[in-house]
């Protein structure tokens, strides 16, 4: 019984760590490659996108998932929302942003992604 309780507690600790404490470091750099965010199977792929600060950026979305929640992507910090038709790539024009992390998500927050806006010098591409 002791063993089971310990497993249970470890499980809880893992849930807390995996979903809340763990901060994924990897983000795809939108200044280097032309990114299309695929909306499918409950996630945005890629979900973390690095963007240069201070200049407007275009981000493409391609929705594959029929689920109605996936049909709209919201950028609440910029009061932006875009309908995503199925199988049609849709460009979302983002304004020039100051450095920081901004979330984008579906209306129900089941699909979640973040824009990591960094000063240009931090980006790897250097193609500007």
């Amino acid at each position: 019984m002791m063993m089971i309780n310990i497993i249970g507690l470890v499980l809880i600790a893992l849930i807390v760590w995996w979903f809340w404490l763990y901060k994924p470091a990897k983000a795809v750099d939108a200044s280097v490659e032309n990114i299309t965010v695929i909306v499918n199977d409950g996630i945005y792929q890629p979900a973390r996108i690095k963007i240069a600060a201070g200049k407007p950026t275009k981000l493409k979305f391609l929705r594959k998932d029929g689920s109605p929640c996936a049909a709209t992507v919201l950028f609440p910090d910029f009061e932006l929302s875009e309908d995503l038709p199925i199988d049609v790539s849709k460009s979302v024009e983002l304004p020039a942003m100051v450095a920081g992390e901004y979330a984008f998500h579906c209306p129900m927050k089941m699909y979640i992604g973040s824009l990591i806006v960094v000063e240009n010098s931090v980006l790897g591409g250097g193609n500007e």
Binding site: G8, I12, V16, D41, I43, A47, S81
Partner: protein
Amino acid sequence: MNKLSGDITHGASQELIIDGASCASCVSKIEQALAAVKGVESAEMNFPLRTVLVTGDVDSDSLIKTIEAIGYGAKSTNEASDDELFDEKEVADEKYYTRLMKQVWIALGLGMPLMIYGLAGGPMTVETTLERIVWLVVGMLCAGIMYVAGKHFYIGAWKSFANHSANMDTLIALGTGTAWIYSMVVVLFPLALPEMARHVYFEATAMIIGLINLGLALEVKARGRTSEAIKRLIGLQAKTARVVRVVDGKEQEIDIAIDQVQLNDIVRIRPGEKISVDGVVTQGRTTIDESMLTGEPMPVEKAEHDEVVAGTLNKSGSILFKATRIGKDTALAQIINMVKRAQNSKPPIGRLADVISGYFVPVIMIIAVVSALVWLNFGPEPSLAFAVVSATTVLIIACPCALGLATPMSVMVGVGKAAEAGVLIRNGEALQTASKITAMILDKTGTITAGAPTVTDIIIADKSYTENQILTLAASMESGSEHPLAQAIVDFAIKQGVELESVSDFHAVAGHGITANVNGQPLLFGNQKLMLSNGVALNGFVAQAQKLADEAKTPMYLAINKKIAAIIAVSDPIKADSTSAIKRLQANGIRVVMLTGDNRATANAVAKKVGITEVFAEVLPEDKANKVAELQAQGEIVGMTGDGINDAPALALANVGFAIGTGTDVAIESADITLMRGSLHGLADAIAVSKATLRNIKQNLFGAFIYNVAGVPFAAGLLYPFFGILLNPVIAGAAMAFSSLTVVSNANRLRLFKAKEH
């Protein structure tokens, strides 16, 4: 064909969506075919996305034809109009619905008989070898159903897990997965479990998958209806236009696609046709039904120089008009854009639900583990079976969707409903604040009154002048002013055939009037303050002016050489329905205050006529915002209504700024809420819709909170120690499936909302 200069299109890129490219070998075929098209610099296909990026000076039509010629379908990503996107969305939704329903039948096909068998008393336990074999077959069938009908839950759950996030899929996958794995352990290793715990739950797995798919399918249907309003607006856009073009040296009227219309094109509209783009009438006269945009039922007369707006309906005459705004710049396109943006924005009331949604799924997972541990430690035998059932039920009953859907669905319907009544709400915050307004400031001119003043009286004080001379001097002075009262005097004078004279030393004194020289004579034209500050004796004329003011007219003094010469009175008629609309606001418990730069007596007279008791009169334009602040300091939540032109600071400072349009001439950017028609009933409608929407959101949020707060402990078995009740996972699945459907349906109820008849 694109005839723009090479500089502009050189290196321009466009994207096409390819249909029917099923193998990777298609890629080179398509790329080569496109590269051979004249003008194409490069063509790169993205096979997983089925898109191809083409660079070069070439139009999309010839690219599409090339692709079609080699046996594939193609369309440009940029050319899909809102209308087409909506059609595609409907087709996609329908497909999704059909697929889900298929999955529903497959899952329920196995789940229902099993559940009926269990309910009828059939043993769901594994004791004999025969039972093991039968349950093994059922278990395998169930695995098949999980794959065919529930694959999307498991893939979604896994992908979000790998992404360190969790969603509804996670809960369903864990819940059904736990039930299935436990049942398989019972079948395959019965001896590893205590005898009482050898119970299978295959029916739960199949039923839950079926029911949740059913909930999703019904939700897709119900959601389609929430976007009816925007669909209707999009449907207002005409698809073609008849323009006057020179063909073969001759002027001809030809029909062209709407996106081909250029600025300054002359467009022909015949009776019964929709106006295709925004423009100004150049020939003909007609009446136009603008109700679809403004909510104003009376058709509007249009003649030369009047504006016409895309999407409205020409009733009687045939007109020619010059296109002044096309494509995304038309008022209709901007309205559609604004409504769409507002429909997806969230009022502050939804933020708590948003925060909760962010933590919801992992919290439920933790509760499921805790609940299983409690059952294992303290539960009666078979505690293991109880632990599995309670953990599964907790995972299944929790519904993050209901919580997440509560606000956006109602906002979607509410904002759309408002748009139908000619009320454009900027965002969710404006919607929420509008529902809480306690005081409403109404600008007088153009808001309560028609904003089209006319000269009503001319009283000569100095008999050495004729009425015509007085009018000449007054109109000449006012011709340099932009004030609406000035315009009224100039218009009146021109109608009387007066010729204006040249003016020098023109000077406008805000809130007082104007001073100028005409024919070397120094003139003053304005209110009592202007006269007194310049030492003009008004003798007995104050009483006359007062009498005019008491009749809701605005008297203005004209002094020549600092001597009173005449009083000219101007009256701005009160809009026919202002009184009833103000009554509606007051009936809602809103304190209505009138604000005007006009003199106190006139202001009071107008206020009295429309039933307003509080008046801020003689307010200088720059002080309007202070009056808003004054009411706010009294603890009021203040709405300010004006024409959006000279009261922008007051509109901005107010808790909610309402810009009142005349017809479709809307000040979209300047206010939180734009009323497309001139009637103040739009204001009462806006507040009524906001209140109804907020009430709907609250019902939804309350329902979703209560559902989860009550459902989860119930599922965990909190009632078991007291009443011996433990929830069946299948019932949890049904509850979960229908909880989000209930939210969407409740939001749909808002569609039936009607602002009170007026």
